[in-house]
């Protein structure tokens, strides 16, 4: 199939990008790494878009140390996230997650901002930023907003980003000493979207557990978190089964995904406790 594109413009600055979006009268579409958007266009799932290419905006790139937090530009590519020294040191969950995302060619182009804005319920990064308690920064015609990750993901492919807005950066709290961050997932083949996946962050303040590919959006498993805080792993697994309502599709049923979530939780906990999964 041939893509049907309404138009293309390369933004030279964030303001320029926002202007282009504003002038597109609703047909504007941000193009970052193109690894989800171009695939959708090539299947004519998205037609007539006026593409606003943000991939050269230096304001949206890079990773900076902001004291207690790390600021990751929306255009940071998956592969770069995986090998960034600051990310590896302060948000190892994100670096580990990269290994599970797609294949090298896609990781070389896809961006963390694109993955979060796209909000595929099976994607790793959205669940990671949720587990980390990140803050999502968006810029729009009326200025900037900071949105907690908890409020950012709304539904399948739907986020709190409004018409005309651009996700510019993600800030994550730097891991405390002794903090453990792990991601576990099972996919049919390496690089496939997960059948189910789980992020576990164990901090002084308590556990944070998020799951992906088990619902319309990444899910913070508060019941399981509370049980883990209470030191009750079996209780956490049971709570997890209760708080998930996974979908069934051609790859796996809801029952399988629910079961798998429990297995992943046990494996993640075993790893944070230093044991082997």
């Amino acid at each position: 199939m041939k893509a049907s594109v309404g138009g293309y413009a390369r933004a030279s600055s964030l303001d320029h990008a926002l202007q282009l979006l504003a002038s597109a009268e609703g047909a504007g579409r941000v193009l970052a790494g193109g690894q989800s958007l171009v695939a959708a266009m090539n299947m004519r799932l998205s037609t007539g878009d006026l593409l606003v290419d943000i991939s050269r905006l230096s304001e949206l790139s890079g990773v900076s140390d902001e004291g207690d937090t790390l600021r990751i530009g929306a255009l940071k590519r998956h592969a770069d996230v995986g090998r960034d020294a600051l990310v590896c040191a302060h948000a190892p969950l994100l670096a580990e997650a990269v290994h599970y995302i797609a294949h090298a060619a896609i990781r070389n182009r896809g961006t963390i901002g694109g993955a979060c804005a796209h909000a595929d319920p099976a994607a790793e990064f959205p669940a990671c930023v949720l587990a980390l308690g990140a803050t999502m920064h968006v810029a729009g015609p009326h200025g900037s907003r900071a949105i907690p990750a908890e409020d950012f993901f709304e539904d399948v492919f739907a986020t709190a980003i409004e018409e005309g807005e651009i996700l510019t950066a993600i800030t994550v709290p730097k891991a405390g000493s002794g903090e453990a961050q792990v991601i576990e997932e099972v996919a049919r083949r390496s690089g496939d979207y997960a059948l189910a996946g789980l992020c576990l962050v164990k901090r002084d303040a308590g556990h944070r557990v998020s799951l992906f590919s088990v619902g319309p959006k990444p899910i913070l498993a508060t019941g399981a978190m509370a049980a883990l805080d209470a030191g009750d792993l079996d209780g956490a697994v049971a709570a997890l089964a209760g708080e998930l309502d996974p979908p069934s599709d051609t790859q796996a049923s809801a029952a399988y995904r629910r079961h798998l979530a429990g297995v992943l939780l046990r494996r993640a906990v075993a790893r944070t406790e230093g044991g082997k999964a």
């Binding site: 199939m1 041939k2 299947m43 004519r44 049919r188 390496s190 049923s253 399988y256 079961h259």
Partner: protein, 793 residues
């Protein structure tokens, strides 16, 4: 003089050696010429509007909006094309009772599967054609869709083609001996049901065709990614009413076929029809979604089967009830009954037993048509047979290798006829099994398995013996009335510079046919393979032949090439003898030189002979034959098929918490007769195994109850990928066929035939201590856990 294959140091010993593929540099440098690379003057593109419903009466078609799209030239309905192209009926006389309704290039008043072409939009670009196609409005009145195979013949199930009377396309029952008696008195009877999933071939290059009709010459030229150019020549000629001699099919580089590109596709015939109507070159390149909904599917079988054994593990009887759904039409011209027929022919294949019953029931459904795909029927028959044999071994507490050894035909038992009435000229089951045991170190692997279990790891070993049908005679299609050549030919000529050109009727699909031909011809004539140019895939240029299917390229096309090359060698030597005033019997050709056979002394380069023959023929004796072009054909006569055999083994680890199966290692010992190019054969085996592993673990086309295809993309239809593939060890036993001097049988499908069964048996070996067993492919994590009873709802 015959070739001393046993002596690797003989002159020109290219047969049996890994020589480089002549076309590989071109392909890796991106200098191949695939259909989509070809651009002709005045060329237009066609895009198809396809049925979104599995079964629907077409009540209205509105093409007006499409016609207004800039670039759109014409819009055709099925009725428009039916005026120019006659319908076809895919039956074969020897498949008794096979029925199928007439099929047109595009649906007329009814669409019968999701993806069936309904309207064609022709435009100056593919994008404009798609733009137009998106604006065509077709109204459908929903008709009930038949999607379940097992209930297709029920009284309450609607009949898809009322004229046909019922949904039964074909049924064949084969009985040998007394199965019921054997089952009722046997020491043990094991019953199992098996399921193989619907697959498709997923060729890297999608189906592609560019057809040019030149009314001035009355000639149609089709540039076509096809396995069988001559067959397509006949098809276009017949249905578009053009003399066969006025249809030229050119098949350049092809990006993989696997059987997918040996069939007649409605959209491709539609493309040719449109070219004839418009008098312009028309190109159609399937996109990936079209590939999933319209490339043939295969292997959608449900089976109930039984095996009876005595206390010593000897097989007393095998009883198979096989069902398959083939879509709404049998596929032209090879038909969609062959796969089920193969299951009947192949079950129990390696084993010497007396009582055999097998029935295949082939039904119509409203899904994509199924037809022959790599290793047609073999993976199914091998899964049934080898699954049963393992279950029988477990039931009587016997090692799976031992039970096979007790039942396989002895290596000195040939020729022999199997209970399925297949005739085997010479197989090597025991030698192959011995070699397998050696290369996999079976006992050490069993020890490793036991050791792993102590650490809580569930590992399993699976063995699968198999036979494979190759080198078909006209018994496969020709006797059924199809104009599909089982014979193949090769023309070999020497040019003035001493180089050799070989034109062959077999085709190159990326598998290395041209490399095989170049080394056979090189050895046959006595030149280096680099001096041989191979030309395939042009019906106006090459000898008539069958092309690529049923693993026949090397066995049939290779032999024709060898005989043509040997004939050319003789005619060269005849001229040389006259020129050198020597005894022809004492001359040989080695590395492009005429030499003295005894001493090896160089007498004359071929260039010199070429110079004399072509430019100074006046200096040769009058009447001396100087035919430096020779053509030979080959067809098998003694056996309907040259069967090959082999045995595979798989070592797996099953994660019983997640259900994930990890392939640890895979082995295959295979006997394809003479190995012409070890590397090519091993690559064919490996590639075939990969496709088999795909069937075992990943590949499955899903439909919902309404006949909607649910996973028509590479993200959802999972092909095997490198990261999941195990290390593979390949070894050979060579039992050359006596039907040819070359002695080669086919090797292209063996890997696919045996791999799924080996994996199934390995998984079940791992699960058996837990009381679980899987027989429904692919063995997804979920199916493993359900077998283990871990998840229920």
């Amino acid at each position: 003089m015959s070739i001393a294959f046993g002596n690797p140091d003989r002159p020109n010993s290219y047969i049996g050696k890994t020589v480089p593929r002549p076309n590989i540099t071109k392909l890796v440098q991106g200098r191949g010429r695939y259909v989509d690379d070809i651009v002709l003057p005045r060329m237009v593109h066609v895009a198809f509007v396809r049925s979104p419903v599995a079964h629907g009466k077409i009540t209205g078609i509105d093409i007006e909006a499409a016609k207004t799209v800039p670039g759109v030239l014409r819009v055709f309905t099925g009725a428009d094309l039916a005026e120019v192209c006659t319908p076809w009926v895919a039956v074969l006389a020897h498949l008794k009772g096979l029925k199928s309704p007439p099929q047109h290039p595009m649906a007329l008043d009814r669409a019968c599967w999701v993806g069936e072409p309904v309207v064609a939009v022709v435009a100056t670009t593919r994008a404009a054609a798609e733009e137009g196609a998106a604006l065509v409005e077709v109204d459908y009145e929903a008709l009930p869709a038949v999607t379940d195979t097992m209930t297709a013949l029920d009284k309450t199930t609607p009949v898809i083609h009322p004229d046909m009377g019922d949904n039964l396309a074909f049924r064949r029952l084969h009985e040998e001996g007394n199965v019921d008696a054997a089952l009722s008195t046997a020491h043990k009877v094991v019953t199992a049901s098996f399921r193989t999933a619907r697959h498709t071939g997923v060729t890297l290059e999608p189906r592609s065709i560019l057809v040019d009709w030149n009314p001035a010459e009355g000639q149609m030229t089709a540039y076509h990614a096809t396995q069988a150019p001559h067959m397509m020549q006949t098809v276009f000629a017949k249905h578009l009413d053009i003399p066969e001699s006025r249809v030229r099919v050119i098949c350049g580089d092809v990006g993989g076929s696997y059987g997918i590109k040996v069939h007649v596709y409605p959209d491709e015939v539609a493309t040719a029809t449109i070219a004839k109507i418009m008098g312009r070159p028309v190109k159609f390149i399937a996109d990936r979604l079209e590939s999933f909904t319209t490339d043939i599917h295969a292997r959608d079988h449900e089976i109930e089967a039984k095996i009876a054994v005595d206390a010593e593990g000897r097989i007393l009887a095998i009883d198979v009830d096989d069902w398959t759904g083939i879509g709404p039409y049998s596929v032209y011209p090879r038909t969609s009954a062959i796969e089920g027929n193969q299951v009947v022919n192949l079950c129990g294949g390696p084993y010497d037993f007396a009582n055999y019953r097998a029935q295949t029931t082939v039904v119509f459904q409203n899904k994509t048509p199924t037809c022959q795909y790599r290793a047609v029927g073999h993976p199914i028959a091998v899964a049934i047979t080898e699954g049963l044999v393992d279950m029988a071994a477990a039931a009587i507490g016997m090692d799976p290798v031992e039970i096979r050894r007790r039942n396989m035909y002895r290596d000195d038992a040939y020729p022999v006829t199997s209970p399925a009435k297949m005739r085997f000229e010479g197989l090597s089951h025991h030698a192959s099994m011995d070699k397998l045991m050696e290369i996999m170190d079976y006992d050490a692997l069993r020890a490793d398995q036991a050791e792993a279990l102590k650490q809580g790891k569930r590992r399993g070993i699976g063995i699968a013996s198999f036979i494979e049908l190759t080198n078909p005679s006209p018994f496969m299609y020709g006797i059924g009335g199809a104009r599909i050549s089982a014979q193949d030919g090769c023309t070999v000529r020497m040019d003035p510079d001493g180089s050799v050109v070989a034109l062959s009727g077999v085709t190159e699909q990326g598998q290395g046919t041209e490399a095989m031909l170049s080394q056979v011809v090189a050895e046959g004539v006595g030149v280096s393979p680099s001096k041989v140019r191979v030309i395939t895939g042009d019906t106006q240029v090459t000898p008539y032949g069958g092309g690529t299917w049923a693993s026949r390229g090397a066995g049939i096309g290779g032999e024709a090439a060898l005989q043509a090359a040997r004939a050319l060698r003789s005619s060269i030597l005849e001229v040389a003898a006259a020129m050198l005033q020597a005894d022809q019997g004492l001359l040989d050709i080695r590395d492009g030189q005429i030499v003295d056979t005894q001493t090896g002394e160089t007498r004359m380069p071929l260039e010199e002979l070429g110079r004399i023959v072509y430019f100074r023929g006046d200096t040769l004796p009058k009447g001396l034959p100087r035919e430096l072009v020779q053509t030979r054909h080959f067809i098998t006569m003694d056996y309907p098929f040259a069967f090959t055999n082999g045995v595979q083994a798989s070592y797996v680890e099953v994660d019983t918490d997640t259900g994930v199966v990890t392939l640890l290692k895979h082995w295959c010992v295979e006997d394809c007769g003479r190995v012409i190019n070890p590397q090519l054969v091993d690559e064919q085996i490996r590639g075939g195994i990969v496709q088999g592993l795909g069937g075992a673990l990943f590949e499955e086309i899903h439909y919902d109850e309404d006949g909607q295809l649910l996973n028509g993309s590479m993200a959802d239809y999972l092909v095997p990928m490198a990261a999941e593939m195990p290390d593979m060890v390949i070894a050979h036993v060579e039992t050359p066929t006596k039907e040819s001097e070359l002695g080669a049988k086919g090797a292209g499908e063996a890997g696919t035939a045996g791999a799924p069964a080996a994996v199934m048996n390995a998984i079940n070996d791992a699960l058996r201590p837990l009381g679980a067993q899987v027989t429904e492919m692919p063995f997804t994590p979920e199916r493993i856990l359900r077998a283990l009873g871990t998840i229920h709802d």
